[in-house]
């Protein structure tokens, strides 16, 4: 019987064919611990009685949620993680380099066919390079740090086919929001979302990353793309026969298949306060906004900044709008600095912040208050996520965000 992509990836690692529902123990290629969860994972690791980390070179510690610190106890997290890294010989420590989910592929850790776990739900992002990656809690991370393995249930797969060319005012963000709207926030729970079709084949890795990143918002265990030549270029690995074999069989068995025509996708918003409350931008056109946020592990990449700069070049955001731009990593920040993108955005009145998670997770750098409206490119609009529970958060693409900042009211380009 044919296999889906996730079945191939898992089967390749456990050395046997697997099918949905099988419970298997998988070897872990990479594990990522972020600054919020590090002290908790470390104390559980010690409580479990491990004397060493299974393979320090496969552990990556990334400080991103609390940098720069916004509360007096935040720096404790860096201190505790630094001490752990010193004690157990962990060298992969990123302080101020960027958001964990950007760095895990950008810095050359996770590649095609790898299995990775992280202490953050958006660990699903690495499906963009054909890896199986997903979020876990800190107790399970402690177990991985000691054993290098984790049990998982092989998921069913929902196949999403997208054919054709996206319109100029639409990005992969609009596409994934539309898919989440159709599936609902729990429609892919425990499952793998497998993306394919000509639209997907034509996409940049950055655009695929946006889609993989949001798979969890439909409840999915992972969102995965077949690795291709572009993937291998991005990961700086050879496009071998082994990597080529990581694709779904034609007779693979799917739980469900969704088919989209790219031309049918329009600019959309995830409206307050559910990620699956998807409406066309046109329905809210003219709604006044107080803030626009361009950034996060969902949409803080160079192509996202370029998209905004294209809209804002030589212009200025509405006088009452705070536009906050947060590149996803130091590398992206430097690239955008070098090619003039940050200058364009700054001239347009944007606040450009250091890479990190602060505003997306509602901790620092632009927290909002009662009845304020924000259009944001990140992945969650949960109640209270970016400030008080009376803030209205609309999720959108970078193009819509930039057009909205310019007009001061909700707009697509």
């Amino acid at each position: 019987m044919g296999q889906t992509l996730i079945e191939k990836v898992i089967g390749r690692k456990v050395g046997k064919d697997v099918k949905p529902g099988d419970i298997v123990t998988v070897p872990v290629d990479w594990c990522m611990v972020d600054d919020i969860m590090a002290p908790f994972a470390i104390s559980k690791f010690e409580e479990m009685g491990f004397k060493k980390v299974w393979d320090p070179d496969k552990v990556v510690l990334i400080y991103d949620h609390f940098l720069p610190a916004s509360q007096v106890d935040d720096s404790r997290h860096f201190r505790v993680a630094d001490e752990f890294a010193d004690k157990y010989g962990i060298k992969n420590v990123h302080r101020t380099d960027g958001i964990c989910h950007q760095l895990m592929t950008e810095a050359g850790y996770v590649g095609p066919g790898d299995i990775a776990f992280g202490t953050d739900s958006h660990t699903v992002t690495y499906g963009c390079v054909g890896a199986f990656s997903t979020g876990i809690g800190y107790t399970e991370m402690a177990g991985i740090l000691g054993t290098g393995s984790l049990w998982i249930k092989v998921p069913e797969t929902i196949r999403v086919n997208v054919e054709g060319k996206l319109a100029d005012n639409v990005t992969s963000k609009d596409l994934i929001l539309r898919i989440i709207g159709d599936l609902t926030a729990s429609g892919a729970t425990y499952m793998s979302l497998e993306f394919g079709g000509s639209t997907i084949d034509d996409m940049t890795i950055a655009s695929r990353m946006t889609m993989a990143n949001m798979a969890v918002e439909a409840g999915a265990k992972c969102g995965i793309f077949k690795p291709d030549e572009k993937t291998c270029d991005y990961c700086n690995v050879e496009y071998t026969d082994d990597i080529k074999s990581l694709k779904a069989d034609e007779d693979a068995k799917y739980y469900k298949v969704l088919n989209y025509k790219a031309e049918d996708i329009v600019p959309v918003l995830a409206c307050p306060s559910l990620v699956d409350n998807i409406k066309p931008v046109s329905e809210y056109k003219g709604t006044k906004v107080d803030q626009v946020f361009l950034g996060s592990c969902t949409n803080g990449r160079l192509e996202d900044l370029h998209a905004a700069a294209e809209v804002l070049k030589g212009k200025h955001v509405a006088p009452y709008v705070n536009m906050i731009v947060t590149p996803a990593s130091r590398k992206i920040y430097r690239q955008a600095l070098a090619d003039g993108t940050l200058e364009i955005l700054s001239d347009a009145g944007a606040i450009i912040t250091t890479p990190g998670c602060g505003l997306c997770c509602g901790r620092s750098g632009g927290i909002l208050s009662d009845n304020e409206v924000v259009v944001a490119t990140n992945n969650r609009n949960f109640l209270g996520r970016m400030g008080t529970s009376k803030v209205k958060i609309f999720l959108a693409s970078p193009k819509t965000a930039a057009a909205t900042a310019l007009a001061g009211t909700i707009q697509s380009i």
Binding site: G137, L383, G384
Partner: protein, 164 residues
Amino acid sequence: MSNTFTAKIWVLGDDIDTDIILPTEYLAMKSVEEMKPYAFSPLRPELAGLIKPGDMIVAGKNFGCGSSREQAPEVVKALGISCVVAKSYARIFFRNAINNGLLLIENPDLYDEVTEGDSAEVTPGKEILYKGKKYEIASLPDNLLEILEAGGLVKAMRKRNGLS
């Protein structure tokens, strides 16, 4: 796992996310005890103060969706919640709850029929009795029962490492 208990019901809705269960700003507190008063605060700020040890939560679909924060099931357990009965759970929350010994029960019907403040009788792995009606519940897979029976994942790992 076959001990029957009776619990007072608190009713929450669909898609109760982890930011509702515990907002990000409280995640860095040093202990779960400190986090307790803020549980469910974006939705029902008064709720944490009203929950008594032994009470249960009944909710709709996709309970615990959102982030991987393990503080979410930990704070629910720390409030003394004996079990959560929901139509379905988000997967990370489900694993985290089991690893911390918080009993989660899936049932498609109870949520549509309960009233907050009532009580129900729960027999884990078997059934829930509410207003004279029986709601069947499934048993967990063996590998999860092993973790629960060990008292959570930390204890299971301690045993593996030859510790008490």
